[in-house]
């Protein structure tokens, strides 16, 4: 189709004329929440390009040491076992066998408990920023889903996983 078009070199000039200066800044002022979201997205994109510095706890709500006792809280572990099923973890994990995700018996010996809780509560960000989680993603190919697990629930699941690890040793 042959049409009379403007020569390309004219376009930039027209654009400048058409857009009428940088008045926009005022009206684009946002709620802080939205801003935060936007920054997060930007950070995420950068993170995929160049792995960021993250603590050994990973990224997520747990940044203070948990200081767990050696002994297992049996009641909590039992609740954790139920949640492991109810929160959809069993769709992808078994204790002793690879399913969609890694087998989880013994994971508490391999990783800090804080990291595990962050992985459970915040997997979407973990696989983008945490180098250990990123490695796992490379290996398993599927990103772990966010199952909307609360802090208390994650703590109970952690106790279940701690108990499972102990059982193996015995």
């Amino acid at each position: 189709m042959v049409m009379k078009r403007l020569p390309m070199y004219l376009l930039p000039i027209l654009l400048v004329v058409g857009c009428g200066g940088g008045k926009k800044s005022e009206s684009s002022s946002n709620t802080t929440e939205q801003k935060a979201q936007q920054t997060a997205t930007v950070e995420q994109t950068q993170a995929t390009a160049q792995s960021e510095q993250v603590s050994e706890f990973g990224v997520g709500p747990i940044q203070e040491p948990l200081n767990l006792p050696e002994t297992i809280d049996e009641a909590l572990a039992k609740k954790g076992q139920e949640l492991f099923d109810k929160k959809g973890c069993t769709a992808c994990h078994e204790l002793d066998k690879k399913k969609v995700g890694p087998p989880l018996r013994g994971v508490t010996d391999q990783r800090p408990p804080e990291w595990i809780m962050n992985m459970i509560m915040n997997p979407d960000e973990m696989i983008l920023k945490d180098p250990v989680a990123q490695k796992l993603l490379e290996e398993y190919g599927v990103p772990m889903t966010n199952q909307n697990v609360s802090k208390d629930e994650a703590r109970a699941i952690l106790e279940f996983l701690r108990k499972a690890a102990k059982e193996k040793k015995n």
Partner: protein, 666 residues
């Protein structure tokens, strides 16, 4: 509204307004040449930013409700209401079929016209939005937290439910009514079989008031109930709006065809100089109900509601309605003479002015509520029709804005003393000072505007800022796409003294009316997922350990889960020809915006789209032996393409055992 009735050859000539409003709008299109860049700035919503308003546009003959962002004009969602929706399975899944049940059976379609946001104290409160079904009379309630249809109630003794849905100041009632009068059989609650020429004798109208349960502690979704119907003369009741402030307690409905024609209405129903606005005193009606001044008519009507814990719709069937006769409940209704075949009737934010759109008149009639009350007090009555006194025009009219425009239809308000009126024939929106009865501004729109909408523009506290023209004719506004075109809406800035055209955007179906509210009022309350632990669907499975297949005779229930990116089970054997298979699929994701779809080869139903935490069911009756694939239809992860399964169907009577599994050989 029906555009054909409006394009009456004689009208323009008869009205004889000058060439000013006549013929085609000016040649140059859209935003005024001068303001193009500033108009662009006003509607620009940068990537990642949000619109300022949610706007809800009816879908007209597609039976849906569209959610747009304003000022950008972005389409955010299509909410299926009265029509099946292949996109997500609404009306096809076992859970949602009941939503479309009526006394006439399952009806997969309707014509939606007038959405209405719920109000408290006359202000938009962000709880619900109602909308009417015009063809098989129904009223729906959509929850704004999920933006899904939660309730539909059928209206008996009615046809052409057009003066609907309009609400009272605290959402006490939602209105419905007969645009098409019907021969009601009082004995059976059905339509009589009578000669059509006996229209005037046999046909009646009804105005229905649906009571709404506003108790915040009532969690049930069955919130609507028919309170009463008012039996009125067999005219065509067209539109409505209820009073507010001083006029709280009243609702107003336009009528045309007071000639009671039953054929060639465009001529025969356009004889009278004036038709009527019906003013209904619903507080008086409540009193008459209490005093036992009503009749109970048999009437079969469905009441469907969706329980979002059980993820399932339920139906109740009503068997009678209370009917009030104006002859037995004095003061319940009055007629206000209004020129000429009036269409819209709108009450200003103060509650004092009742403004009609006399679609065949060039003058805009503004009635006064306080004058009406005085006229009632002083018995300024012209005549009485079936127990309804007709008040004298002069006694209720505040003014007629002379030669306002041609074909005025609807009015919305800015809360600053101005009324904005859509003018169908002259294709323009005019702005009128109500007190002074004076047109102060006008702007051409493209083309033939029907309703218009200002956010909150029919409430006591309009949010203002914009008026949207909902145009009926699109023609050359966009790139041509064949004979059938989307309709066009136009966004106009009303913050200044002069209206300023900002934006054109295409709309779906035929949006009649629309409503809008500030996004901040609801956006943080909008639900993102359904909680799996609250799922009470009887066939839900909340963990993969519960997935299974159960046979009961030749009915097979598959209890299935979906999560990125597999179904469990994904291999099923032992289905036989002659079986009816129900796939109950629970999406066990708990993350925002991760639906999974489910579709199976050869099924006559479309796919279903299951939201996180939800369970939905599709019925499948395989006809021939073979192995049939099913798969996830919604791209859910990098391994979405792997989200598939097989069902083996064996001949009737074969002995292939029922087996299922995931990640193993059966």
């Amino acid at each position: 509204m029906n555009r054909r009735t409006l394009i009456l050859a004689g009208v323009i000539g008869a009205i004889g307004v000058g060439a000013l409003f006549m013929g085609c709008p000016p040649k140059e299109k859209g935003a005024a040449k001068t303001g193009a860049s500033s108009a662009a700035e006003k509607v620009y919503v940068a990537p990642g930013e949000y619109d300022e308003f949610y706007a809800f546009f009816s879908g007209g003959f597609n039976g849906q409700l569209m959610v747009y962002g304003l000022p950008s004009g972005r389409l955010l969602k299509i909410i299926p209401v009265f029509s099946v929706f292949p996109r997500n399975g609404y009306g096809y899944t076992e859970e949602t079929k009941a939503m479309l049940m009526t006394s006439h059976g399952f009806i997969p379609w309707d014509d939606t016209h007038h959405p209405e946001l719920s109000q408290t104290n006359g202000e938009v409160d962000g709880r619900w939005i109602f909308i009417n079904a015009n063809n098989t009379p129904r009223v729906a309630r959509i929850d704004l937290a999920t933006m899904e249809t939660r309730e539909i109630i059928e209206i008996p003794n009615s046809a052409g439910n057009h003066p609907s849905t309009f609400i009272t100041m605290n959402t006490e009632y939602v209105t419905a009514g007969t645009r098409f009068s019907v021969p009601i059989d009082i004995q059976t609650g059905k339509f009589k079989d009578v000669p059509i020429k006996d229209y005037a004798k046999e046909f009646k109208g009804t105005i229905t008031f649906i009571k709404v349960n506003n108790d915040p502690n009532y969690e049930g979704e069955d919130k609507m109930d028919i309170a009463f119907q008012l039996l009125v003369p067999g005219y065509d009741y067209d539109l409505g709006h209820c009073g507010k402030g001083p006029s709280h307690g009243w609702c107003f409905f336009t009528s045309y065809n007071t000639e009671q024609a039953h054929t060639l209405l465009e001529k025969n129903a356009s004889q009278h100089d004036k038709d009527y606005i019906l003013a209904v005193n619903w507080k008086k009606a409540e009193q008459c109900l209490q005093e036992g001044k009503y009749h109970e008519f048999p009437a079969k009507y469905y009441h469907n509601y969706y329980d979002d814990k059980k993820h399932m719709a339920f139906s109740k069937v009503g068997d009678k309605v209370k009917v009030i006769l104006p002859t037995e409940c004095e003061g319940v209704a009055y007629y206000l003479p209004t020129p000429k075949s009036p269409h819209g009737v709108d009450v200003d934010p103060t509650g004092e002015y009742i403004i009609a759109g006399g679609k065949l008149s060039a003058d805009l009639p503004i009635h006064s509520f306080s004058k009406m009350m005085k006229a009632i007090e002083n018995n300024e009555v012209e005549k009485v029709i079936d127990g309804i006194p007709v008040l004298k025009f002069e006694a209720v009219n505040h003014c007629l804005v002379p030669k306002a425009c041609i074909g005025p239809l609807h009015n919305e308000f800015d809360g600053k003393g101005f009324v904005y009126t859509s003018c169908f024939i002259s294709s323009e929106i005019i702005k009128t000072d109500i007190e002074k009865c004076e047109v102060v501004d006008r702007i051409p729109v493209y083309y033939s505007v029907g309703h218009l909408m200002i956010p909150g523009g029919d409430s006591r506290k309009p949010f203002g800022k914009y008026v949207v023209a909902l145009n009926k004719i699109t023609k050359d506004r966009y790139l041509p796409v064949g004979p059938e075109l989307n309709q066009s809406a136009q966004l106009i800035d009303i913050t200044g003294e002069k209206m300023e055209m900002l934006l054109d955007f295409a709309t779906i179906g035929e949006p009649h009316y629309a409503q809008a509210l500030p996004a901040d009022l609801i956006k943080d309350k909008v639900v993102k997922i359904y909680k799996l632990e609250e799922n009470q669907h009887p066939y839900a499975v909340k963990s993969e350990n519960e997935t299974r297949v159960e046979r009961k005779g030749n009915v097979v229930h598959v209890y299935m889960t979906a999560i990125r990116s597999h179904f469990n089970p994904d291999n099923i054997e032992g289905i036989k020809v002659g079986d009816t298979v129900y796939f109950h699929v629970t999406n066990i994701e708990q993350d925002w915006d991760i639906p999974h779809g489910f579709a199976i080869f050869g099924a006559p139903e479309p796919n279903m789209l299951i939201m996180p935490g939800q369970t939905l069911t599709i019925r499948w009756v395989p006809k021939e032996p073979g192995v049939y694939p099913y798969y996830c239809t919604d791209f859910c992860s990098a391994l979405h393409q792997e989200m598939q399964g097989y069902v083996r169907v064996s001949p009737k009577g074969s002995n292939v055992p029922l087996k299922w599994g995931l990640d193993k050989d059966l």
